[in-house]
């Protein structure tokens, strides 16, 4: 069902939930929310859990970092509870994000932003252009890096130097991007795209009953986790 939800509706609910979470500093609210989101994914979505775990791992590490940072550098009112709360918040946010990532098709998301949230077609289609250029540009990135390695440019290990070394690769990539952008924009205009006026869509991204059900679920979860916080 989460897969069938409208991407914009999902986007709005996830954003609202995250902003709501920001006002709670007890451990229970984010913990209950985190658990709830996982149950939602188990019950209402098809998730590749192996990939999910791999993507979750860095956030788990981040949560640990948060935990001890809050313990060591917390202000006078901070307790272990606060530290746990912030770590769980990291986990709750990440599980929500992964829920979105795993149940939403990227192109549908942009189409939905255009159809439901009135994103300008000029911007939306440009984003789609960028998205489909990604593999091309990624490939180019490695090609340039290899060509430059041949000339004796090493990729330095220290992070600061690595940032600086990036400039050599960036210049040819950006110069190429300017050229590709113009060509693609011309091709779009030559097919009558102006970005202005009303637009009707061949493939409509609709809002359905799944969205109502999803909305109810999110609300229950949000209220439930807040209640858990007040009760403790």
């Amino acid at each position: 069902m989460l897969h069938r939800m409208n991407p914009s509706v999902k986007f709005v609910f996830i954003t609202v939930s995250m902003i709501a979470m920001a006002f709670f500093f007890n451990p229970w609210t984010p913990l209950v929310f985190f658990t709830g989101v996982i149950f939602m994914q188990i019950a209402f979505a098809k998730i590749a859990w192996k990939t999910w775990s791999l993507m979750m791992l860095p956030f788990l590490l981040g949560a640990i970092g948060y935990f001890w940072t809050t313990l060591v550098f917390g202000n006078e009112d901070s307790t272990i509870g606060t530290a746990l709360s912030l770590s769980f918040r990291v986990l709750a946010f990440s599980s929500l994000s992964l829920l979105f990532v795993f149940t939403t098709k990227p192109v549908d998301f942009i189409m939905s932003l255009m159809q439901q949230l009135k994103l300008s077609p000029k911007i939306a289609y440009s984003i789609l252009v960028g998205y489909q250029f990604l593999p091309v540009l990624k490939d180019e990135f490695f090609q340039i890096q290899q060509a430059q390695q041949l000339r004796g440019v090493e990729v330095p290990k220290p992070p600061v130097k690595r940032v600086l070394a990036m400039r050599h690769v960036l210049i040819p990539m950006l110069a190429g991007a300017v050229r590709k952008a113009e060509r693609t924009a011309f091709a779009m205009e030559a097919r009558g795209f102006t970005g202005e006026g009303k637009r009707d869509f061949y493939r409509k991204i609709s809002v359905s009953r799944a969205d109502a059900a999803g909305a109810v679920l999110f609300l229950i979860l949000l209220i439930g986790s807040m209640a858990a916080g007040f009760l403790s």
Binding site: S126, L128, Q143, Q148, A187, F193, F201
Partner: protein, 459 residues
Amino acid sequence: MHNVISLEKVSFRFPEDELPVFEKVDLNVSAGERIVITGPSGCGKSSLLYLLNRLYPENCDGIVSGKVELFKKAAAEYAPGEINQRIATVFQDPDSQFCMQTVEEELAFTLENVKVPVGKIDERITRVLQETGLEDFRHSVIQTLSGGQKQRVATACAWVLEPEVLLLDEPLTHLDPVTAKEFVAWLRELHQTRDLTVIAIDHQVELWDGFFDREWQMAPAKVSSRIVKREPVHAGKIALSAKALAVSPILSPISFSLHQGEIAVLAGPNGSGKSTLLKALCGLKSTGGSVEPKRIGYVPQSPEFLFLTKSVRDELAFGGGDQVDEMIERLYLKPVSEAHPFAVSHGQKRRVAIGAMLCDGRPVIVMDEPTAGQDAAALTELENLIKARANEGVTFLIVTHDMNFAHRTAETLLLLKNGQLSGQFKPSAVWQNAQLLNAHRLCAPSGGVRFASPHESFG
């Protein structure tokens, strides 16, 4: 026949420039005509074409004078996008003319643009896919298609608009000769189903095999330079030897060797492993075998991928060589030696890349598709550059599909197929062997040196 396009004393200039791109051009095209516009690169062919589909002057704030009439109405009177339904365009770069992921989405995008009622879109897509024979590609992801397939999809996107005029902006430039001929044959068949006007620009008119009724030369071809004479290869001295290079699963073990001053061409179908072999030679891929010498010069299709500095001179000096000034002289780079390497012409960029490799002490140079998208003058320049260096003892291995170029330049032909080396041949032996040519998707050269008029020498 009435005129669909009529230009009268048209001049065009970019706002940044003092000089016009072209001046006082007259051109009339009548309905149903098939015309090809030719002229050396830089003569403004593309700019002219963009005036016809209204990409210019708006997109570059260009300054137009004279009369541009499309269907008997002044071009400027059309609203943005209005003309593009009647005048559709196919561009040259197969990799940058799509904005959606799949063929169906791209066609739908096109039809939505011109406000075709949503209920009719499915029918229109089905019909155009049938007409163009692309039914099987309806749900294909465009980026996964080959260059030739992409150009057909781009044509289908123009065709679906049911235009009266079709503009072709060098659509064969990025295709290899066999694919280009297949594309032309396909387009010819498609054109027979609808009698529309075709206006193309291209520099390889011979590939079109009589498709056009009329050729219009926008500017006279530049007088081509004299061809550098090749000196015989000093047999005996091996300059490059590769033993059992293998990259699984792309390349089976490959061994070959080239002599000092030899020019070899490496050819084979797309996906046969040519680029991988070049990278393996340069040590950019780990292989089981060995390459001698260790340091090999590499010139990618976009030479600017190599550039690291802000001037041509610094670029040559980057590797620490001591013969920079001599090399600048020899490669005719003196006038641009202080220019930014990105800002010089494509031919100059290639010379900078070769110069950098030579200064760096890499007398064996491999080049990845240097002939792609080059007009006749650029090819002559490339040929001279390579021959002059080879005469000095530099060894070349060049990947190209262009057998005319191979015929004029190479002493040796390495053919690659499915990651296996079919052999190391004398080019003349391959031209006789139709089976070998077909198996490697190559066209025999159309014959001889194209330009013979003597002119200043160019190394």
